[in-house]
């Protein structure tokens, strides 16, 4: 059984308007997202800005009310507040926020920031608590003198580590990392990422790793979902996504990764332009008349793609002929 199962999750924001302030339309920030996260793995969720990644994360952790769909954890639907409370859900599931500065209360000392989940979930005495905070600071590579400082006295990378220390304080089983390194420069990115991997090995944490950077995701994740306009367009293993992308949106995202090898630059540029051309031509066929992605079709046991109906039919016939049990 998976650690957590997200099933047809939808989050719609009402747009109010008109004379009676009625609901005239919905922003479909998340519109039918399904995936499972296994214990100990890092699951990547990739998409451009505004595709609904943060909203998905917030709905999973319970910060945003799900319009419909379920998030199953230990056999209970944790989109319901009472189930979250019964399971002590936030003891097990924590979040690292996109914006490290705004996620740390500017009025609180680092000791109080990191101790907050400890105070709520593990009732330690004062000495034990301070010791735990010092140990956590040590784990994330900060000195003890950080204890009584305020968040604004740290650099972006250090703040992100404080966010990580808070997230791991209660030994969670799953950490939702919402673009934990997007605001950092490359060398600090590598530091924080390697550090996240290290604590994953040590504590056996699962991550839902959200990013718009496919290079970073490749480094971190075994399974990846590509999201656009509130829907998932392609799910697969790292190998499926990087070596055999099938949705034009995925192809375009991959082509946009900057090429670091100078010798291949020109080649890479041509490839990118080609993909862009195909994208412009075929865009209409890959989305339905409302601009939404089609339902996912299994193309291999690990790989699903939101193919347009005519391609989807082809695939179904093909698999029937071959008798592949997918």
């Amino acid at each position: 059984m998976s650690l957590i199962e997200i099933n047809d999750l939808k989050v719609h924001y009402p747009i109010r308007g008109g004379f009676w302030n009625r609901i005239v339309d919905n922003v479909k920030a998340v519109d039918g997202v399904t995936f499972n996260i296994e214990a100990g793995e890092t699951y990547g969720l990739v998409g451009e800005s505004g595709s609904g990644k943060s909203t998905t994360a917030k709905a999973i952790i319970g910060l945003e009310k799900a319009t419909s769909g379920t998030v199953m954890y230990k056999g209970k639907d944790v989109t319901k507040g009472e189930n979250r409370r019964k399971l002590d859900y936030n003891h097990d599931v924590q979040m690292i926020f996109q914006d490290s500065l705004s996620s740390l209360n500017p009025r609180k000392r680092i000791e109080d920031v990191i101790a907050e989940p400890l105070r709520n979930f593990e009732h330690l005495d004062k000495e034990e608590e301070k010791l735990r905070v010092l140990q956590l600071l040590d784990i994330v590579g900060l000195d003890a003198d950080a204890l009584y400082k305020y968040p604004h006295q740290f650099s972006g990378g250090q703040r992100q580590r404080i966010g990580v220390a808070r997230a791991v304080a209660t030994h969670p089983k799953l950490i939702i990392a919402d673009e934990p390194v997007s605001a950092l420069d490359l060398s600090v990115q590598a530091q924080v990422l390697n550090f996240m991997k290290k604590i994953q090995r040590q504590f056996g944490i699962s991550y839902l790793f959200i990013s718009h950077d496919l290079g970073v995701v490749r480094h971190m994740c075994k399974n990846i979902a590509i999201m656009t306009r509130g829907r998932i367009v392609e799910v697969g293993t790292r190998d499926d996504i990087y070596n055999n992308p099938m949705h034009i949106y995925t192809k375009r995202l991959l082509a946009a990764i900057p090429e670091t090898n100078v010798n291949h630059r020109e080649e890479h540029r041509k490839h990118r332009l080609e993909i862009e051309k195909i994208y412009q031509e075929q865009q209409a066929t890959y989305y339905d008349k409302d601009g939404m992605a089609f339902p996912l079709v299994k193309v291999s046991p690990t790989h699903s793609v939101a193919l347009p109906p005519h391609l989807a039919k082809e695939f179904e016939q093909q698999s029937e002929n071959e008798g592949v049990n997918v």
Binding site: G40, N105, N120, L131, L134
Partner: protein, 317 residues
């Protein structure tokens, strides 16, 4: 499979004391220290602070030695006595009552009412605004309708009517009556900041850390709007001195025979007093001006102290 924190860090209980000491040495100064440093850097504000504290203490202590009913008796001998005489330091009014004594007791009454009114109305307004802004939705909608209702009531007229209808009232009931009408400005201000503050990620982080709503409101959000609260409260205090004074000036404040700054200034209603007997109203007017100026200086310093970018005090961190 899951290992414990102890396995990956070398820090153990033995290091606790040493490390806490190290941390304490590097600690950022406390808020009170920063505020004191800020006062030291601003001489006029320091002077204002001393004037205000000294004055309030003086007025409270001195008024204990004054027998008010006796003081308010008419004394024909002192009819408009001139100031700066041994018996009447600040002269006397038409009833031969000592202005100096009236000023002390009146200041005590006016300031006490202003302090009480500020504490009650600001506390209520802050709570109202915080809760309304934090919960949003239906709670906010309902609470804002109450606010709107209070706003459309003609305040001054209602207070005057209530004061006229109630047969017996004193300083405490008057403070309570006024408090009903003076929390809305604060609540609106606090609500709008709370709305913005609630959207920040640290509130979300507190929720996912398992902190309850009330604790988030008062322990997480409130400290972040403390500069707004401090400035608003000091300004309200200055304003509230004016509220009771104004009512008493109009004759609807404290009951007859209870001196206040307002009744003293009301002496200026008589044109003869304005020119001929200036000592009957001038000291009270001057006092109000000095008080309000001092409070506004202090408010400015407090605002600077709560905002790191504006500080003038020695940088200690």
């Amino acid at each position: 499979m899951k290992r414990d924190i102890e396995d990956v860090t070398s820090i153990s209980a033995a290091d606790l004391e040493k490390l806490s000491k190290e941390a304490a040495a590097e600690a950022t100064p406390s808020r009170a220290k920063i505020m004191w440093g800020e006062f030291k850097a601003d001489k006029p504000a320091m002077a204002s602070l001393f004037i205000l504290i000294f004055f309030i203490l003086f007025v409270i202590v001195a008024s204990m030695f004054i027998n008010t009913p006796k003081m308010m008796e008419t004394n024909l001998m002192g009819y408009y006595a001139k100031p700066f005489t041994p018996e009447y330091w600040l002269g006397a009014d038409s009833g031969g009552r000592s202005i100096a004594k009236e000023l002390i007791v009146g200041s005590r009454n006016s300031i006490s009412i202003a302090i009480g009114l500020t504490i009650i109305s600001s506390t209520f307004g802050i709570c109202w605004g915080l809760i309304s802004g934090y919960y949003g939705g239906m709670v906010d909608l309902a609470m804002q309708r109450v606010y709107d209702f209070m706003m459309i009531i003609p305040m001054l007229m209602t207070i005057i009517v209530i004061v006229t209808i109630i047969p017996h009232y004193n300083a405490i009931t008057l403070t309570l009556i006024l408090s009903i009408f003076y929390w809305m400005g604060t609540s609106r201000l606090i609500r709008s900041r709370t709305l913005a503050e609630s959207q920040k990620d640290y509130v979300a982080a507190s929720k996912t850390s398992g902190t309850g709503n009330l604790k988030i409101i008062f322990r997480e959000i409130m400290p972040n709007i403390s500069s707004l609260i401090i400035v608003d409260t000091t300004l309200s205090f200055a304003e509230n001195i004016g509220v009771e004074t104004g009512l008493s000036f109009l004759g609807f404040g404290l009951p007859m025979g209870t001196p206040s700054l307002g009744t003293l200034i009301a002496n200026a209603n008589d044109p003869e007093n304005i020119t001929g007997y200036w000592w009957t109203w001038f000291p009270a007017a001057l006092e109000i001006i000095v008080l309000c100026l001092s409070i506004s200086y202090i408010g400015q310093v407090m605002r600077r102290a709560t905002n790191a970018a504006q500080r003038r005090g020695k940088q200690q961190d």
